[in-house]
Symmetry: C2
Subunit: 334 residues, 2 copies
């Protein structure tokens, strides 16, 4: 049985289940449903940032530390999901996987999976979340979700995580990229990778200044009484800015320690529960949207849809009116 073998942590079964999830295979989705009660244990770490910041090497380093941690800690099993818009131009996903294999191959405590973001049309968050659940149920105690890019869908995927790490690199233009793309607000940890290159100190200062501005604003907006400040200070997390060089391993120990600290903060502050709720709510809504569209497609004949599209092209009907007609048709079926 696939269910039992995934729960037992069998890699081949997990791989098969994930393929099934990606293909929206009914059997796989039914197994996933039965696995759901066994999920909710893994620490989900989201890693995002612009291309060229060295995210993948950083993720490899962190995964390696989970496998071979400092003496006081026990090793953890690590799942890695690389959400990668596989481009026919560069074949980035494939190359990335090959480099990873070299570092982490042979270690059954690490499971790596690439997911293409193309063609998912909004379904990516759902699919990623389902793969996270599969790894979680299979006993991977840490699941790292890596996204390429700094757009809205990347923010959505990052929101799936308990701990969100935003990676910058010095010299990527005049601006701090994440700041401009509005991704900083979701960050729990900021990493300046390639910190041996010129501009690393400047980038660190710039990020800290942005954080100063954001947190002074938050303080003014939210806290009115001394008492409240005192109470909330215990539950307060300001994203640290950490410098690393993934290629030679500098700063990775620091980064690893900060991730552990954030995990402790999540548990002690009640944030863990809060994020679980947000995450499951977002998954519920995405699944709902997928199913609503699917149900509608089953009910409305292709000919009517094509007719509406043609009228739209000829400007005989507006998009709103076309949708109203299509929805009215569906309602008339009940």
């Amino acid at each position: 049985m696939l269910l039992e073998s995934v729960l037992a942590g069998d890699r081949l079964s997990l791989a098969r289940l994930i393929t099934g999830i990606e293909n929206k295979n009914d059997d796989a989705l039914s197994v996933l449903e039965q696995l759901f009660p066994y999920t909710g244990k893994a620490h989900l770490i989201g890693v995002t940032g612009a291309p060229g910041t060295g995210k993948s090497s950083l993720v490899n380093r962190v995964a390696n530390l989970y496998r071979h941690p400092p003496e006081s800690l026990s090793p953890k099993r690590v799942g890695i999901i690389a959400v990668d818009p596989t481009s026919p131009f560069t074949g980035g996903a494939l190359l990335g996987d090959r480099i990873r294999m070299r570092d982490l191959t042979g270690d059954t405590g690490v499971f790596i999976r690439s997911m293409a973001s193309r063609g998912a049309l909004g379904g990516l968050a759902t699919a990623t979340s389902q793969v996270v659940q599969a790894m979680d149920a299979a006993g991977f105690e840490v699941v790292i979700i890596e996204t390429v890019g700094v757009g809205q869908s990347e923010i959505d995927v990052a929101r799936l995580a308990h701990t969100v790490m935003v990676v910058e690199a010095p010299g990527l233009g005049d601006d701090i990229q994440a700041g401009k793309a509005g991704i900083l607000e979701v960050a729990d940890l900021l990493v300046i990778n390639k910190a041996d290159q010129p501009g690393a100190d400047y980038a660190q200062r710039a990020l800290n200044q942005m954080l100063d501005m954001a947190f002074s604003k938050e303080m003014t907006n939210n806290f009115h009484h001394d008492l409240k400040i005192k109470t909330d200070v215990n539950n307060f997390w300001r994203p640290p800015v950490i410098k690393t060089v993934a290629t030679d391993g500098s700063g990775i120990g620091d980064l690893f320690e900060t991730i552990q600290k954030h995990l402790e903060f999540l548990k002690s502050s009640g944030e863990w529960a809060g994020r679980e709720k947000r995450r499951l709510q977002s998954e519920l809504e995405h699944t709902l949207q997928d199913h609503l569209l699917f149900r509608w497609r089953e009910h409305v004949p292709k000919e009517l849809y094509e007719e509406m599209l043609l009228k739209l092209l000829e400007r005989q009907i507006s998009p709103l009116k076309a949708v109203t007609k299509l929805l009215d048709y569906e309602m008339s079926l009940y």
Copy 2:
């Protein structure tokens, strides 16, 4: 009447209509519907690329050339939509607008509008498309849609356009950013801005190599007979790679000319009609998705939704089962 004054090109009325569209105001959406027959004339230009590439300055330069073109051409009215994830950290949108105002202010032939991408949850493409329609109906012959970032949502917005321009800058890391993020496939024009900086020639070569690979693959896949090659060569557009320096205006004339050539290609090859179809189909589907969710929300009581969410958190029920129960409830109403 708002309808007539927008059609007459009145700026204040257009601004009011767009605000109404953003707020999903019923009156505004009804006016938009009546405007729809007057749309479909504007040349839609999508501009995308990573933060720090100087997109906004480039857009300003191009807009200026449309207003003051070479002698053989007549000036065109230009609408600019900046889809900008307004970050509380940097206030990028606001600053950008102020810089723009300085260059283009007082020219009633230019209309600029920023749209925040946050919180739109999938509705951004729809809202942007509606604002495009409003500008189109108001007689803006060119509408430039600028997005910040290189993620999936940016690709979706770029797909709205007839002509898609992807902006790179040299020295943004080791990689060509757009290539890695899978955005090159949607490009009609590639621009290397800040071409006075080191690495511009390298970036141009790298982009051309990527294009070589992509187009040789396409040739092998699609063309089998000499005759077919001959026929299709007339309908063939290989994205040119243009070097510009937006700050001093170098290369902008070239870029402007290439945009005109692409417009001619679109019309002569039938691609214009093809893209119109894809665009309206995508809008139809996005509007449909919005309405399906809206209709569902109206029908299902909040209490049931909260109950399902709680059960989900306690792992008593899977997301799929929760959605099934919620959908079944809605069906039972009919």
